[in-house]
Symmetry: C2
Subunit: 324 residues, 2 copies
């Protein structure tokens, strides 16, 4: 690849990918609306020559400008507010499926045929098979987020077959590491910094989850995308680790890091929230077969995340949080 457009390029994953591609000498264009992305995450990249397009992929004119000259699009922009899908039932469809349709159409108009896409392990719903392989039985969607990502995957796949696109689709577990800005680690971290004596945990604490260190994720994405190449075709890869942690273990790591000993209050129930899956563990043998392996275990990635939160009080403890 010579020049890459990264949608959502100022976000946690996108900005980490931007830095990594710049290291490789790839020109980078970043499109981001800074709703969850942050200026400081791309400051370095911009200094190293990355171009910034401020807005979202629902703005077709902006998208056209951003895509000009690119030979690949990493389409990472998404509605990442997985938990609140039911509060805004059209939001996932618009920001994940329709947005992806816009990206594909802009690519087609610009003659760009290579795409990498961040999908989610949530597309498997509540799978009968665990660890879940890419060719698991036709899944039943349990969240609007998963449904919208399945829709986006389907569109991409149809462009591979109909328009000769080359596509690499990544079904991700949750990510951890530097620039982490939302999810259970920061929620628990903030809560315990506010009140170290008690911690409220959704669900029963036994939900088993798999996480991946963000830089390991980026390495896998670059490796698989290079492997997929430019010829028409579709590669779908689960990205995660072989291990899992349960919420209770996460809590133990976070309280140990902070040196606190709170009373744990559990809301109970198998799910943390409606649409949450009690177990997401992906079979990653396909990406491993390319020679990739994660460098950090989940506890190490949690540790890296906590160290980073310690060093970034503006993110870890924004003023309204400290004040509350």
């Amino acid at each position: 690849m010579r020049r890459a457009l990264i949608t959502g390029g100022a976000g946690f994953l996108g900005s980490t990918l931007a830095d990594r591609l710049l290291d490789d000498g790839v020109e980078v264009a970043i499109l981001d609306d800074f709703r969850t992305g942050r200026q400081e995450f791309v400051a370095d990249a911009l200094e190293r020559g990355a171009d910034l397009f401020e807005g979202d992929v629902l703005d077709e004119d902006l998208l056209e400008s951003a895509i000009a000259g690119a030979d690949i699009v990493f389409h990472l922009q998404a509605n990442a507010d997985v938990r609140r899908g039911l509060e805004h039932p059209r939001k996932d469809l618009r920001e994940n499926a329709i947005a992806t349709s816009n990206v594909l159409e802009a690519m087609r108009a610009a003659g760009v045929h290579r795409i990498a896409f961040s999908s989610t392990g949530s597309v498997y719903g509540e799978p009968d098979v665990s660890p879940t392989p890419e060719d698991a039985p036709f899944p039943v969607q349990t969240s609007l987020y998963g449904a919208s990502k399945v829709a986006a995957e389907g569109l991409i796949s149809a462009y591979v077959h109909g328009f000769g696109f080359s596509a690499t689709v990544f079904r991700l577990v949750s990510l951890l590491g530097e620039r982490y800005t939302h999810g259970h680690v920061i929620d628990f971290y903030r809560a315990l910094r506010r009140d170290p004596t008690r911690l409220r945990v959704l669900g029963d604490g036994r939900q088993e989850k798999s996480y991946l260190y963000v830089k390991d994720c980026v390495e896998a994405m670059v490796m698989a995308t290079e492997h997929q190449g430019e010829a028409p075709g579709l590669g779908v890869y689960n990205l995660g680790t072989d291990a899992t942690v349960v919420v209770d273990e996460s809590v133990a790591l976070i309280t140990a890091h902070l040196g606190v000993n709170p009373t744990i209050e559990k809301a109970g129930g198998r799910r943390g929230w409606a649409g949450d899956s009690p177990l997401i563990k992906l079979d990653i043998s396909k990406i491993r077969a390319l020679g990739w392996a994660p460098t950090l275990s989940i506890p190490e990635a949690i540790g890296r995340t906590l160290d980073w939160l310690d060093s970034e009080p503006a993110i870890a403890l924004p003023s309204e949080t400290v004040a509350s």
Copy 2:
């Protein structure tokens, strides 16, 4: 069910279902924009008391009116122009996925929680397993039509999990029978009525397809929907026959019916068109387990279709076709 809204209720399948529900004493509301639906298909139903709402489900106000008082929605309206998905790449997403999102939101607003949906066997793409069961491996979409139907299925499923909907999803093969207005039988019929000496066939003539008689389809839909009931849950059913025909056999039945002996010109190639699947054969053991069985074989259903076309020259041979 007491009162049913049928979107696409003036179409081939929808109007046949409307008549069937009226036979059962169910009140029927029909929403249709008459792009492919036809006034004469619903004339009987309207006389028997069905209510008509003219427009499409992208019109949210109309949808709200149409849904009032219903306790179930049969959402059949769709972009059925499967072959030309690549000419209008946003059309399938809008008319199938976004339209379904509108229906689901209108249902939620009206407190209606029971939906039946016409999906397609095309969601399986080019399956490795044939006959293809409902829990086939996670499919790769080969058409925008299939992708948009997968998106709609996913949304429906997410509403089952998130909002307690009861949903029955039908993955259909192509339908045949009275009120058939588009597809290969009418294409061949018209071509041979215009010029009985030659017939151009897309693909190599060996594409194997499964078809279902429309009234058999409606019986299966009513049976499975009743079986699914009102409690939250999702039932997914393939609807087809155990048999298949190849295009060459269809052609032989049609030429025999018309008493013509054309030269067959084959375009060649495994697919009839880009995104066409060379084999759609569904495993229908799940719907059979409910006690349903098709009453007509595919050749009988083709015969029924041809008899109907003979009796409906305004549809079978519209003036512009005769003139050309």
